[in-house]
Symmetry: C2
Subunit: 432 residues, 2 copies
DNA sequence: TTGTATGCGTTATCAC
DNA sequence: GTGATAACGCATACAA
């Protein structure tokens, strides 16, 4: 699906009805989109089909912007703009006001303006001067230049988020949370993603090299990108890792207790009476998923339950992957009566595939997910899952990062582990 | 769901099993999370429950970081760090190398280093000098200081994305796309969100005021945040608006052709034989959704079909909203045989609620969504929907923005309109 | 209480 | 070909 949803529409015509292309068995490698070049087929863009009751307007249509703007290296040339301070070469270069401008207007020195504007100065300032400066600043619409501040060593109020795969809805939610948390603290979020393992280094290099961030959050396991981890160890910024599964060498981290969570899931099924329980894990063995699988096996062994050959599936972390796992599981003899998926995404794929094949959930098969994504509660049937305390975890990681920034202290390598919660919905029931 | 999923767990104990709190009828206002303060209940964090086979380690546990770091205004104080250049106060302040440092090592002047490093200099440089400079730079691990470059007027290679509501999976997907596209062009994405309409101004103010971005993408309709729009109009940066529904005064935009899309949806249903067709739109009348509803009414009128009182529902753009709309619709007499939802999110809620109530889709009711979110294909049943060409649209918007940045030209107010595609899956069928 | 001067790290414009 | 030097916008030590 994800793989298919942006397939360029060959022979496209507006609003043509078409069937969904087959998702390719077993979830083809998920790409968000085909190479940029492919996207630039023109067919997609369409004339200015104006809204009927909108005023006809005289704005000329533009070309569709198809032609790439040439390849400027990532370190673009520095056009020294302005220098046309005089503002008479048309209209544009009306620069943003600087402190100097305010000073000129008010008739004081630039340093006075500075002192007024960040009124943390120990030095007292005449009420009147302050008043006039503030007024002028407001009138001119003054905004501090962050570059200049940064140059002086100030914080940039940017926090970098390096995400393993932004395509994953779970991380999307995490990003949301981070945005909110960061904003509440006056920070903005800069997004980087590790994008497969191909461009790995590059991925965060972009975020790091241009290290205008005050700190970096590493979201999701990236141990298949060893250079990244190493680089991060050497970076001068505070780095906090989220959802690594296991501890990283020298990096403070925030993790979920996969073991206890999975135990709760297994125990829940066992209490319902299940004994033939399967597990669907990720194919690439990322940290969290690997831990979850190991926990599953350990708990099953503890309970004296055997996990037959074939009950452990490794598929891509997509709905399609979950679907293919389900089909494989149901061909086994005996088939499992319950399955735990390492993520909700796969669990939703299982639900979908079960419905397709005619397997009733939870009548014929109980399903447990992991994460409690927003849509899990609205799956059909509503998905029993292990709720990840995403927001508290993100908050904790953010706090750790910011503390490090503010205290500036040596990097303390700490770790916080959060507990997941079993949310019982209706995808689990006693076996028939 | 979304409303409920971050409800703080009262009386929390690890991995306790609990039932899903009811989502509150008609989808309560969606908040990603309760106020930060509420999140700081301690119960969540848990001891270092180490992974069994991990080495026991001696890192001391930290407190849970619960105490807020005090309220520093968004314009934090500027501690001039370093000044401890000498590197003997412990270990940390090993500053990143500057050009000056390279120059010192190589024994040339700093300007020479600069010329070598951005080898766009017209002036030729001795091969040997260049060699040595590059070598030294590599050895020292030199990274250009973006703040300094920015101060000189260089681009920051940051693009700001102001999103109406990051919680919405649709926008999450859009952000993903933007990240990829931006990265391919050497840009990074700074996320801002308009967060309800409460802190509206603040929301983007953070992104804008600290205008370290080269351009801004406005994703989703924000006309309920008038000051934002106005501010944007006055901002010195290129601004491109996505999914506004209707044209914005002075801002170039990229939109989807809601009219043709909805027509395709209606026609599809009519061709299947439906005549009693309902429409579920957003409650706050945001641009796109409003257009879709208007288009629906227009098309129905054109086809000579009546839309009875009550067939137009306005609910929050959540699964819960869709569910409540469905329940209301099915109580009507006669009940509709098909429904078009203004977004997939609502459509998925409809699917969910239908299953709960025992209404077969598509047997008793056909459902059409809008967007083709990743999970739409994996709904039960797979959702027929109108596919938004998200990636091409984001790409187009990005191109428009970057073109404006690079050409630096006066802001051309253009507009591009993309076509959606009807994707037939299995949530639609002839009426019984 | 305010003004002057200096430096942050780069790039660009001069001299040499 | 290369080196000194002047901005860039802001914060601050120091002089007045």
């Amino acid at each position: 699906m994800i793989a298919s949803r942006d397939t360029p529409d060959q022979g496209f015509s507006p609003c043509v009805s078409r069937r969904d292309p087959v998702p390719g068995p077993d979830g083809a490698p998920r790409r968000l989109h085909p190479p940029i070049a492919v996207l630039e087929y023109l067919g997609y863009i369409v004339a200015e089909s104006e809204w009927p009751f909108e005023e006809a307007l005289a704005t000329p249509r533009e070309g569709n912007g198809g032609g790439r703007a040439g390849d400027h290296g990532s370190r673009g040339p520095v056009r020294s703009r302005r220098r046309a301070d005089l503002d008479r070469d048309g209209s544009r270069p009306i620069r943003l006001p600087r402190m100097k401008d305010i000073a000129a207007v008010v008739g004081v020195s630039q340093s006075t303006v500075s002192r007024v504007l960040n009124n943390k100065s120990v030095i007292p300032i005449t009420a009147e001067t302050r008043e006039r400066v503030l007024a002028a600043a407001a009138r001119l619409g003054y905004r501090p230049n962050p570059a200049a501040r940064a140059l002086r060593g100030a914080r940039t109020m940017l926090i970098g988020a390096v995400v393993r795969d932004i395509t994953d809805p779970f991380f999307a939610a995490a990003i949301e949370a981070l945005c909110v948390v960061a904003r509440d603290h006056g920070y903005n979020v800069v997004l980087g993603h590790a994008h497969g393992s191909a461009e790995e280094a590059m991925a965060l290099a972009t975020v790091l090299e241009s290290r205008h961030c005050d700190a970096i959050l590493l979201m999701g396991d990236m141990r298949d990108q060893p250079r990244l981890i190493e680089d991060l160890g050497n970076v001068q910024l505070p780095v906090v890792a989220l959802w690594q599964g296991t501890r990283l060498p020298r990096i403070p981290s925030v993790d979920v207790d996969n073991r206890r969570a999975i135990w709760a899931g297994v125990d829940h099924l066992v209490e319902l009476g299940h004994t033939r329980i399967a597990f669907v894990g990720g194919s690439r063995g990322h940290g969290d998923k690997r831990q979850r699988e190991a926990s599953f096996r350990a708990r099953m062994r503890q309970l004296g339950l055997v996990v037959p050959e074939g009950y452990l599936r490794h598929v891509p972390n997509t709905p399609a992957g979950g679907g293919s796992a389900l089909r494989a599981l149901m061909e086994l003899e005996p088939a499992p009566t319950a399955v735990i998926a390492a993520t909700d995404v796969m669990a939703i794929g299982i639900l979908h595939a079960a419905a397709e094949v005619g397997i009733g959930v939870p009548r014929d098969l109980s399903v447990i997910g992991f994460d409690d994504q927003p849509l899990a509660a609205y799956a059909v049937p509503p998905l029993t899952t292990l709720r990840m305390p995403t927001v508290p975890m993100v908050l904790a990681a953010f706090q750790m990062a910011i503390d490090a920034v503010e205290k500036g202290a040596a990097r303390t390598v700490s770790r916080q582990v959060f507990q997941a919660t079993l949310i019982e919905r209706r995808s689990t029931a006693p076996p028939r």
